[in-house]
């Protein structure tokens, strides 16, 4: 059954040739850099400081995790990086571009909810980015359909989102995100709405997908284990106002088979450090 989609991208196998996703706009790997970024919202009474001087960077193809409690400004930060909003002060560079339009051209945002359009089939949802770019629908379908098998979605191209499981919906959303052809992926708790078993499967699946399709990733999460398992480096954010309190290098070689990884001593030690950093 294709529903057991995790098997399709095999994490033990050596990386295959990249998915035929087309050219990634601009440079293949764009670095992200934030320098003393502040964001204040002028509320009705007191202005709210969401981010208080955030400084960090992500190298090209690096997977950086941002972990913090709810309401520490993680989502705000992703929107700022993506160029959907401007910081109150400070500078944000993506691939050397600091203007919002330049950032928007290099980043794609994948929110927590899959946000699939209920009036489109799974296939048409995945190919949304192509259609937006001006590719005609039949042509977009023809290009995207072969990828459904790789993403563990074979046989579900014509299904409506409400006929798919949570994990499958998330995979469709991820395919839509990748097809935007952007060098930087901003993932906002991408598996937050899934049950823990599906989430574990999807984390493994994402790690494998990123090995095939390397991108610069900024992953926001409130799940320490998820961040450590997926990322090269994890930053910890304090509660509002959000500022970076500490940073953890995750020196676990890839691929990381889930069971061996999360039960290894080094992982458990990292997890302990992480939980202390958050306490």
């Amino acid at each position: 059954m294709p529903a057991k989609g995790v098997d399709v991208i095999d994490i033990e196998a050596p990386a295959k040739e990249p998915l035929p996703l087309g050219d990634v706009a601009g440079e293949p790997g764009a670095a992200v850099a934030l320098t003393a970024v502040w964001k204040r919202f002028s509320g009705r009474q007191d202005p709210i400081t969401a981010l208080a001087g955030i400084t960090f960077s992500a190298r090209a193809h690096e997977v950086v995790g941002i972990v913090g409690r709810s309401g520490c400004g993680k989502s705000t930060m992703l929107e700022l990086i993506a160029g959907l909003a401007e910081p109150t002060s400070g500078e944000i560079e993506v691939g050397g571009q600091s203007d919002p339009a330049g950032r928007l051209a290099r980043c794609v945002l994948m929110p927590q909810r899959d946000l699939l359009f209920p009036w489109r089939t799974a296939l048409d949802n995945a190919s949304l980015a192509l259609e937006v770019a001006g590719v005609r629908r039949p042509e977009a379908r023809r290009r995207v359909e072969p990828m459904f098998e790789r993403f563990g979605l074979a046989g579900f191209a014509r299904s409506r989102p409400n006929e798919l499981s949570g994990g499958m919906r998330q995979r469709v959303a991820f395919l839509r995100t990748l097809l935007a052809g952007k060098p930087v992926l901003l993932l906002d708790e991408p598996f937050g709405s899934l049950d823990s078993l599906t989430r574990a499967d999807m984390q493994e699946w994402l790690a494998a997908a990123l090995r095939e399709e390397p991108r610069t990733v900024v992953l926001v999460s409130h799940d320490v284990e998820e961040a450590l398992f997926l990322c090269d480096r994890v930053l910890f954010l304090s509660s509002r106002p959000g500022r970076v309190t500490s940073e953890l290098q995750v020196d676990i070689p890839r691929p990381r088979p889930r069971l061996e990884t999360v039960t290894s001593e080094s992982f458990i030690a990292l997890k302990q450090q992480a939980l202390e950093a958050l306490a």
Partner: protein, 253 residues
């Protein structure tokens, strides 16, 4: 089977009415019995049929015009906030002007043809279409818009791929209200100045105390409204089947 109950109620009402009209001393020209109305439907069928055709044409064309203009106005108001602030109050105000006042003026301007009727119908019908469609366009999930923007979607692409499809259920709600009142609009237009149509038949029938024929015309108008409403509902089921699904999550906060 949703039509059984309303039909039963109608039959019950007609039975009571029939009994009342026959037993009581009510004059025929004041309250004709349902049987007399039915008789008139049969006897005057040629007259009523040609009147129905005229009115149906007016209703369909007027409704189509309202739909076209309504959606266009809603889209313009949505795309241009300044326009919305300027024009929306005027659109609302247009509904406060009594149609009965405008209709004769329209006859003076456009004569006794179909044009003034279409304008009256469109004037009545475009309002629910504009209000509902505009509500639909503005209630699109903001995170969906952000997602579209990071997919490099232009303003037009957001409108075409996201805002318009997601406001279709609203548009249909507006269209259902509009089509029900479109029939009233047609009668209004005909009463003011026309030589054909069910409104004209009602006017002539009233003047000649042919009350049964008046009731027959009203009956046809009701059937027309129900039929058009059902037609729109059918189109709605076909076009926005996704919105009826219990797991449809597009409207979540």
């Amino acid at each position: 089977m949703s039509w059984i109950l309303p039909l039963l109620l109608l039959a019950l009402g007609a039975g009571a009415w029939e009994t009342l009209a026959r037993l009581g001393s009510v004059q025929d020209y004041l309250l004709p019995a349902p049987s007399e109305v039915t008789q008139s439907l049969v006897d005057d069928r040629h007259l009523l049929l040609s009147d129905t055709w005229v009115t149906a044409q007016e209703v369909l064309l007027g409704f189509a015009l309202a739909l076209l203009v309504g959606v266009a106005i809603a889209m313009l108001l949505h795309l241009f906030p300044l326009l919305r602030r300027t024009v929306y109050p005027i659109v609302v105000a247009s509904q406060a002007v009594p149609i009965i006042v405008i209709a004769p003026i329209l006859v003076i301007w456009f004569g006794f043809g179909i044009a003034p009727k279409l304008i009256v119908i469109a004037l009545i019908c475009f309002f629910p279409v504009v209000v509902n469609t505009l509500d639909g366009l503005s209630s699109v999930d903001q995170s969906q818009i952000k997602m579209m923007r990071t997919l490099n979607a232009s303003r037009g692409a957001v409108l075409r791929h996201l805002e318009l499809p997601s406001s279709l259920p609203y548009l249909f709600s507006g269209a259902k209200i509009a089509v029900a009142v479109a029939v009233i609009g047609a009668v209004f237009g005909e009463l003011v100045g026309s030589d054909a149509g069910l409104g004209h038949a009602i006017q002539v029938g009233t003047a000649q105390l042919l009350t049964a024929r008046v009731f027959a015309a009203v009956f046809i108008l009701s059937v027309m409204a129900i039929g058009l409403f059902a037609l729109i509902s059918l189109a709605e089921r076909w076009a926005v089947s996704w919105a009826r699904h219990p797991r449809y999550e597009g409207r979540q906060p």
